[in-house]
Amino acid sequence: MRTEPQPGSMSGSTNVTTELKSPRSIVWARRRASLADFWRLYRRQRAGMVGLAILVVITLLTVLAPWYTDESELNAANAPGGRMESPSTEFWFGTDQIGRPILTMVIWGARVSLQVGLVAAVLAVTLGTVIGMAAAHFGGWISWALMRLTDWFIVLPSLVLAIALVIALGPSKLTIIIAIALTSWAGTARLVRAQTMAIEGRPYLERARALGAGNWHQMTRHVLPNLMPLVLASATLQVSSAILAEASLSFLGLGDPSAFSWGGILERAFDAGAISAGAWWYMLPPGLAILLVVLAFTLCGRAMEVVLNPRLRGNQ
């Protein structure tokens, strides 16, 4: 195969500074076009659009919380209601055992749950991507060791491991994030490894290697851009599991004691005997919030996967 020598192609980038702009702008134009393409296909996924809509609404509700709720109601001293009041026009979802309105708690709890979920997912996917790429690229015993480690993390009961880590490090928001990230990167690593190996077999990477491109250049310029869509879809799905994990850890009493999260609210409900009191209003809102957000992220992630993998579109 013959390739035309192009000005500003990656090997000659040092001597053609003036023309650097044009190939780069071509790259950007191409990325914009493929992004538009992605969006056009994504829009046809009805479930994915529903998920996206849910996420937009929840994000707005969370961000705008200070303007339509009163945070000071969450302070035990200022609790406006009575003890475990059932829903009324004043408190739509009743109050907790010291009279704080459940609805306000759930709205403010979204901050912690989403924050922890998003940050932990990003960390986990980053870690998984780096390890997966390394395992695919270097081969030999490094690859072997990394894959054994990955398998080990995939197999282990992740919640149990995360609990152990949080206990060891002491409960706080940061430890929870670290524990979740450390116990959930392995799936992404395996996925990324397989995809990287597929990409590295493509002719343009052979060309780049033949032209003397180093490991770093190959990875950042050629492999990573091609991995990005897959990694993003994986990250979206990962947010779902991270939010569920945060809820579980908080429910088990390992959350940040000073902050409200959805799992933490459920823990308080459980400890306060809301079940035997039949106080469904105490448990329904936070649980539904978790369910809705997790479902929304899952729907988005699945829709992205379908867009990226035409084989899954069905009815070919």
């Binding site: 992740s158 996925l191 599991s241 899952t298």
Partner: protein, 366 residues
């Protein structure tokens, strides 16, 4: 469920499948002679040795991480024992002496390894009972709960998943996928809370929690059995719900993968009924990747057991773990951690080996 990093319900089934590593085998055209057979046997032994040694290495890694997590960075065990009340240096030294904490780390690790292999896993900080005794007491209860939930979830999940995948695009498929995704998205413990409020508190159909009624212990065998079964219904269904959702999604994807294959058209052309084509031809092929994926999710079952037992006060290992977290009771946590991890490693190893005997594409010619 507390499905930390259980495979999120992704659409593509290609995420897992470790069993395929050795699949690149195709036999020659020679009849099975003696040479062929002994080569096959040697291959099999090599495979078994590989899997077993892999499991052993994983197990060592578990022991090592258990030591480091719980002994080295695991906070201050003395405070865990003595509680938050102030204590004199003498009291402190006495507790340290009792727990062997005044030895150098190297010695502690050696003692730890020795204890692990002699099954002397120490005393609980709190009850001062042997942790192993506590564990063996609770183990049957956990087996009962998880076993019931697993059978329920696997049977129903594979069945519904196969039907859903077979009729891609139908209302049935869309409904089942919707239900499964919703169940997957619900936290196990919350599902349990709601189930208790509805079926125990409001409708009064099932007991709120526990495994036996108060007078349970004195009953004869049959009433006792019925009592336990009565208590088992809600927790088993709650735990099964989330696992079920995963199995539906996995099985559906596997069937979708098979659907384009010509052998299904051949089966149809032979004059077989549609449901026979599905049961006899599609399902056995789709089950093989499902087995691998399900094996990878054994760990998630313990996650579910932990949360379910907590909510329902089911006296199993999960509840024991929860109670140990609250204290925190380090020796107990450590043992349970090793037990949970070890069981999943063992289960995965067995699943790998069984897979090899199930799939003729991987198996040597007999």
């Amino acid at each position: 469920m507390g499905n930390l990093s259980t495979t999120p319900p992704s659409v593509s089934p290609s995420g897992g499948a470790g069993g395929g590593d050795d699949a690149g085998y195709s036999a020659g055209t020679t009849p099975p002679g003696g040479v062929h057979r002994s080569a096959a046997r040697r291959e099999l032994w090599r495979f078994l040795a590989g899997r077993v040694s892999g499991a052993v290495v994983s197990m060592l890694l578990v022991l090592l991480s258990a030591f480091f997590i719980f002994r080295v960075i695991g906070g201050d065990p003395v405070r865990a024992v003595g509680g938050d009340s102030p204590m004199t240096p003498e009291q402190r030294a006495e507790i340290e002496e009792r727990l062997g904490l005044n030895e150098p780390l190297r010695v502690q690790f050696w003692e730890y390894v020795k204890d692990v292999f002699t099954l002397d896993w120490g005393q609980s900080y709190v009850s001062s009972a042997q942790v192993t005794d506590l564990m063996w007491d609770r183990l049957p209860n956990t087996l009962l709960l998880t076993g019931t939930a697993l059978i329920l979830a696997a049977g129903l999940g594979v069945w519904i998943g196969a039907r859903a995948g077979w009729r891609q695009g139908s209302t049935f498929e869309k409904t089942q996928v919707g239900i499964s995704l919703t169940l997957w998205s619900a936290p196990t413990f919350w599902l349990g809370m709601i189930v208790i409020i509805v079926f125990s508190v409001r409708l009064d159909l099932f007991p709120v929690n526990g495994m036996r009624s108060a007078r349970g212990g004195d009953q004869d065998f049959l009433p006792d059995l019925l009592d336990v079964a009565h208590h088992l219904v809600l927790p088993a269904c709650t735990m099964a719900a989330v696992i079920y959702a995963q199995y539906v999604l996995i099985m559906r994807s596997s069937i979708l993968e098979e659907r384009g294959n010509d052998y299904l058209t051949v089966a149809k052309a032979k004059g077989l009924r549609d449901d026979v084509v599905r049961r006899r031809h599609a399902v056995p092929n789709a089950l093989l990747p499902t087995v691998t994926l399900i094996a990878l999710q054994f760990g998630a079952i313990f996650n579910g057991a932990l949360l379910t037992e907590t909510i329902f006060s089911w006296p199993g290992l999960g509840l024991l773990f929860y109670q140990a977290i609250k204290i925190p009771d380090i020796p107990l946590l450590q043992v349970l951690f090793i037990f949970f991890a070890g069981t999943t490693i063992l289960a995965n190893m067995l699943a790998d080996i069984i897979y090899r005997f199930l799939d003729p594409r991987v198996r040597r010619s007999a």
